[in-house]
């Protein structure tokens, strides 16, 4: 008997809930004296989500009038979806005070209809149904047209300058303070009769910073060969060792003294960070180099090396692109190539078209950024200060051009 009655109650409640589901804009009644009644969201609009692969729709609604953050009556909004005129099923829910939702993962050949409900702790108020809609597919994301234009401008500049450099036209690169100090530093080592220590960081040859360091090594080695100074180069990677030996050998050959070169100038220590540091520290303390170059990719070892170099009284020329290590170099070394200066120095020294061209192309990007920021800031500040709408509009249009909206 008990079973049957439970079954009966269940059946009735099911049919009731089915009814309420079909009945638009009515509210599911819960027989509870503490019910927090709320109004449903209104003006539920569904439209195609632009610039997608026909798999999304955009849903907007006006929040329930009871949706006020202070009283927290409305807890969430639930979204119901009907596919190909089927029944409505709960597909998603969002926080209160949200009034839109991107519906994803839809198919191009189906039709869809939606309904949104506001939910309090124990009450749910449903909106009207939306119109029936299909998704559309667009080929290109025109939201990103401005991004595309600027990217195209800068990439074309890079390619243009690389081509110009290839055709043999000389591209100007400004003087770099750290590079100018190289001559003096090598001269000092020669006078004192002490060796030069060159440390190319602890990364392998696949890091651009190491490549830049090896390029600068070319210049240093050339001068070392001319002055007949001693150079020591402990490295942490075997590939770097091969490349460095090759570079120094070439420099000695160009200087016309191939006999003065020997492989012991460069030696591999170990791949292990601290093992390498301990060994280099030892070399510094024993040989007391007059000049130390710390160029390349450095990590935590930067400060240990810079400190020891400082304590033996060497002139130190450093350079890395890692912002976290730059402070230690700047505070403990005599000259520091900061970030991009390292790459600019190597482009300048090697004269390689692809490096020089990129440098110039990036300068175009920086010029655009500087110009736009100056114009934008001045016009919005004037516009706001004197209430001139024209100026404010200039900035907001530049801003919307540069903001990549999703």
């Amino acid at each position: 008997m008990k079973f049957i009655s439970i079954y009966f109650v269940l059946l009735v409640s099911l049919s009731v809930s089915a009814q309420t589901n079909d009945n638009d804009s009515t509210s599911l009644l819960v027989n509870d004296s503490l019910t927090i009644k709320i109004a449903p969201p209104t003006s539920v609009i569904v439209e195609d989500y632009k610039y997608d692969d026909a798999d999304n729709l955009q849903l907007h609604w006006v929040p329930s009038i009871d949706d006020m953050p202070q009283d927290g009556k409305v807890v969430r909004y639930r979204i119901y979806q009907s596919t190909n005129n089927g029944s409505f099923v709960l597909v998603d829910s969002v926080n209160f005070s949200v009034n839109m939702k991107k519906i994803e993962g839809l198919a191009i050949d189906s039709t869809y209809q939606f309904m949104v409900s506001a939910v309090s702790k124990n009450y749910e108020a449903k909106s009207n149904k939306t119109i029936t809609i299909q998704t559309e597919r667009e080929w290109i994301n025109f939201n990103l047209a401005s991004l595309f234009l600027i990217a195209l401008l800068i990439t074309s500049a890079v390619i243009y300058f690389i081509e110009t450099a290839r055709r043999g036209k000389e591209l100007f690169v400004r003087k770099i303070a750290g590079l100018e100090a190289v001559d003096e530093a090598i001269g000092r080592a020669t006078e004192m009769g002490r060796p030069i220590l060159f440390i190319p960081g602890i990364h392998d040859m696949d890091d651009v910073q190491t490549l830049a360091a090896i390029t600068i090594l070319g210049k240093v080695a050339r001068q070392v060969a001319d002055y007949d100074t001693k150079i020591r180069m402990p490295v942490a990677r075997s590939l770097v060792m091969t490349a460095a030996r090759e570079t120094i050998k070439t420099a000695y050959q160009t200087a016309g003294r191939p006999d003065a070169y020997n492989d012991d100038m460069v030696n591999y220590i170990t791949d292990e960070q601290f093992g390498y540091v301990a060994a280099v520290d030892g070399i510094m303390v024993r040989e007391k180099p007059a000049t130390i170059f710390l160029l390349g990719a450095f990590f935590a070892e930067s400060l240990i090396l810079a400190e020891t170099g400082n304590s033996v009284g060497a002139i130190q020329i450093a350079g890395t692109a890692r912002p976290a290590q730059l402070p230690f170099f700047i505070a403990a070394c005599d000259f520091t190539l900061i970030g991009e200066e390292l790459f600019a120095a190597s482009a300048y020294l090697s004269g390689e078209p692809k490096m020089l061209g990129s440098l110039k192309g990036q300068d175009v990007g920086k010029a655009i950024a500087m110009g736009v920021i100056i114009v934008g800031v001045i016009s919005i500040t004037l516009g706001e200060a004197y209430g001139i709408e024209f100026f404010s509009n200039i900035t907001s249009s530049i801003q919307s051009f540069f903001t990549v909206n999703k």
């Binding site: 610039y51 290109i140 994301n141 990103l144 890079v158 390619i159 696949d206 240990i304 304590s311």
Partner: protein, 221 residues
């Protein structure tokens, strides 16, 4: 062929990801997902390459009886033991379990061997920072002076150090606010300039790679 095939692979992979930013569409989106799967798998293999290479290099050292042959032996033993425990815990746990679960031997290894070793390695840097501060950080010119002053206020302001010294006079954490101000304005300004520079640098080097102008990663000039 040794040069051309990698170049073509580089260009196709690069173009798919660059173009799908603007055309969120078949075939680019599909290709992007498939390539994403492959990258996850290839990178996992790359990690294994690293482990196998470590064994290879260590074995060579032992074979040649170099001075660090003993340490190479330790490396191999520890690597193999870790792999053994990991595989055992991963496979023997059965359904709904993981090699990471608390209570497994692998978790013990993680907590009591891996964790102390890796964190102590980095904790040593505290000592080196202190000694560099004492022995090498000099206000040798105007730039370095600015750097040290900024560092001074940030170090003293981000912890309650300077504000405690101010306590007898006022409860307002002026130094904390000033450190916050340095971070929010001058630091943000400098960082933004660096970031824009880096972004342009990455853009141009990516372009060179995709167009095949840059070939150092495939062993060309």
């Amino acid at each position: 062929m040794r040069r051309e095939i990698p170049l073509i692979i580089t260009t196709i992979a690069g173009l798919v990801f660059a173009i799908s930013y603007f055309i969120p569409h078949w075939p680019f989106v599909e290709a992007e997902s498939i390539f994403g799967d492959w990258i996850a798998i290839v990178q996992a293999f790359a990690i294994w390459l690293g482990a196998l290479n470590l064994i290879k290099v260590s074995l060579e050292k032992i074979y040649r009886k170099k001075e660090d042959a003993f340490y190479s032996g330790i490396i191999i033993v520890c690597l193999l033991v870790t792999l053994g425990i990991g595989f055992y815990d991963g496979f023997s746990g059965g359904a709904q379990s993981s090699f990471r679960d608390t209570g497994t031997t692998f978790d013990w290894l993680y907590r009591f061997i891996y964790t102390p070793l890796t964190s102590t390695m980095f904790a040593m840097l505290a000592f080196f920072v202190a000694s560099a501060s004492y022995r090498a950080f000099r206000a040798r010119n105007f730039e370095a002076t600015l750097l040290l002053i900024a560092g001074f206020f940030v170090m003293g302001g981000r912890v309650p150090l300077f504000d405690l010294a101010l306590k007898p006079f006022t409860d307002v954490p002026y130094f904390s606010e000033f450190a916050g101000w340095i971070m929010a304005y001058p630091l943000t300004a400098g960082m933004t300039a660096i970031m824009i520079g880096i972004a342009l640098g990455i853009m141009s080097s990516s372009l060179r790679i995709i167009l095949g102008i840059e070939r150092s990663h495939i062993g060309g000039a």
